[in-house]
Symmetry: C2
């Protein structure tokens, strides 16, 4: 199948491009290096250097003989986007191309404006390009479980049947996100849902939880094929931060009570989910929403798991609660469904000691690169 | 009170500016003439010429001795907006400043992009400016009843209490708008709700139905003070179209079955509602949402009312169903609440024969200006 991977340089975009290329699809990866540039500008670069998209496509070709097409440009620039669509003639468009950091979106007015404009305009342009160039193509859009927030009722998969004063209606599940970044994903969903109803597009919107891990089947050829590993307050995730803290002998800093619970998944399962969505497309005129995670864990759970794995590898790991720099509930109900991908055949890779030990060992090899000043950073007060 | 009226040149903005000036408030009206320029570009100008904002403020001053400050510029331009806020020091910000036409937002990719960028960036900038310059100021934001769409259950005022699997939560009432313009208002609400939770802003979001009428107490001084009257497919409303059709002897063209039902209000009641909201502000940290209309009417109801009033003034008015150019339900359940403004003391002006006769007489005086080619126009297929 002809597949466009928008945001193909990203943490998920590049592994997805390799995975679909490996599966025999004709992949074109598109990126404008926004995330690379922002993390350089903010002085929070990844743990190890990552070759750029053109270089990685060449390394991939060298090891596998397979081509991944590369186009560098901005999806907010219609002329560029139209050229890419006209040339690639995609049957499936995987849209990861957004400013992906919640803390970055909350730094100041400029970063908020960049996030809002970039994410909304990119999504609108993707919709317009599909309508114009390939109206039956399947759009697989990366949303986030963060769109739902942490409501006091069960989180369904995208939709909620409501009975009110004796009458019934099915609505988009009401959303209440915790950052501007997450709010732009809610606004993306509004836009997708409107144009599905108006133009009958075919869209899968993935409500994905936080992803961990860097190794995938396709990265075995070379460490140069690994995606970004950020451990800073802006582009890192809590698990990456804990891994780095364990390696350098810092306490694992738990924000507040540590009861913040989310649905996590391994990067291998992201690839599996996207492939399952691609192989089992939504119907024409359907906005299919699937919750994409494999297990719910609290921050305290994560800290305990890292301590356990660290101890197994001979590290002395301590856990230290600190004041929470974010505006979020530290204890809350959290019961999201995630049965649709199981029904499509997802085989989950859970967060075992073995997986964590592999992550600790990889990070240890790059221990000399760790800048401990970046772990919490000057931006820890982002949501105040 | 120091009041900014953003979009102060508009159909509602200018009458609001006069009304609050009359009430003794210190009003600054801000506009970039976007709507004026778009209707000129699309060749669908209003029924009679309307002096620009600077001229109207001078006419107002001449008749009343009162000053309305005028600033011409674009709210999407931060430097301009920051200057306005720094100078005006508003205690209340009334935000009408958006591309206001649903059909225009659906014409093509360029008009969709303009609507999305203009409306979202203006709203975001207003939020950022209030946070930076006047964090306790009351934002009164014009939303639309169209955010809700036409669900099969009762429409509450902004929020919905949901019981699900034995647990309870209060959510923003789920929204499903019928045009891109209306969808940008949904996205505005997402943004307002996020920043109310994050920064504790004080916001009233008005879910307003279609407004009719041009005469207000303040326009009695001079017809030059009347707001725009558009009767075209892009910037007109169904009632204006019917009035013009009745005056020129065309049949009133009812789209499809004519059961499309909405909550309408007289422009005098818009002014009353905005004043009531201003005098009874939301609490700090509250997103107060109020449904702003006085009566629900179907398109068939409107056609019958115009026929009745037309007959009373000696016109021969026929009604003619035509194929619906819009994608919308032509028969549907519609039961929206609207008790909050009644509780604040709203005295409704309903759509009586007398009101319609006054509109017919005003339009008749400008009958020579009517361009019948504009009534339905080349754009009647906008939602196909």
């Amino acid at each position: 199948m002809k597949v466009l991977v928008l945001g193909g340089d990203g943490y998920l975009g590049w592994p997805t491009a390799m995975h679909l290329s490996e599966q025999g699809h004709q992949v074109t990866a598109v990126d404008n290096y926004l995330r690379r540039n922002l993390s350089r500008d903010e002085n929070v670069e990844a743990l190890y250097p990552t070759p750029d998209l053109v270089e990685r496509a060449a390394i991939w070709k060298q090891h596998t003989g397979k081509d991944i097409g590369v186009r560098i440009g901005n999806l907010c620039d219609w002329d560029f986007l139209a050229g890419v669509f006209a040339e690639a003639g995609p049957e499936c468009v995987i849209h990861y191309a957004e400013q992906p950091s919640a803390p970055y979106s909350m730094l100041n007015r400029e970063t908020a404006t960049l996030t809002l404009q970039n994410n909304l305009n990119a999504t609108a342009n993707v919709i317009f390009a599909v309508k114009e160039f390939c109206p039956t193509a399947h759009i697989i859009k990366l949303g986030t479980m963060g769109e739902y927030g942490t409501p006091n009722i069960d989180i369904e998969e995208g939709w909620l049947d409501i009975e009110h004063n004796g009458r019934k209606e099915r609505f988009l599940y009401p959303r209440a996100a915790g950052s501007l970044y997450h709010t732009t994903k809610v606004q993306d969903t509004d836009l997708l849902w409107f144009y599905v109803r108006t133009w009958g597009l075919c869209i899968t919107d993935l409500m994905q939880g936080p992803v961990y891990g860097i190794h995938t089947d396709e990265s075995r050829h070379s460490e140069s094929l690994l995606p970004f590993f950020n451990y800073d307050e802006l582009f890192g995730t809590v698990l990456n931060r804990f891994i780095v803290q364990a390696v350098v002998g810092y306490p694992l800093t738990v924000y507040g009570k540590g009861g913040q619970t989310r649905g996590y998944l391994n990067i291998r399962d992201t690839l599996q989910c996207v492939r399952l969505a691609l192989e089992n497309p939504a119907a024409q005129g359907e906005l299919r929403i699937m919750n994409q995670f494999t297990e719910t864990l609290s921050v305290n759970d994560l800290a305990e798991l890292v301590r356990d794995a660290g101890t197994a590898t001979g590290l002395d790991v301590r856990i230290k609660p600190v004041e929470n720099p974010r505006k979020e509930l530290e204890e809350h109900y959290y019961n999201p469904r995630h049965s649709k991908f199981s029904e499509l055949g997802l085989q989950p890779t859970l967060l075992t000691r073995e997986i964590l030990v592999e992550m600790l060992e990889t990070v240890s090899r790059y221990a000399d690169n760790i800048d401990t000043g970046k772990i919490l950073g000057k931006n820890a007060t982002w949501a105040k």
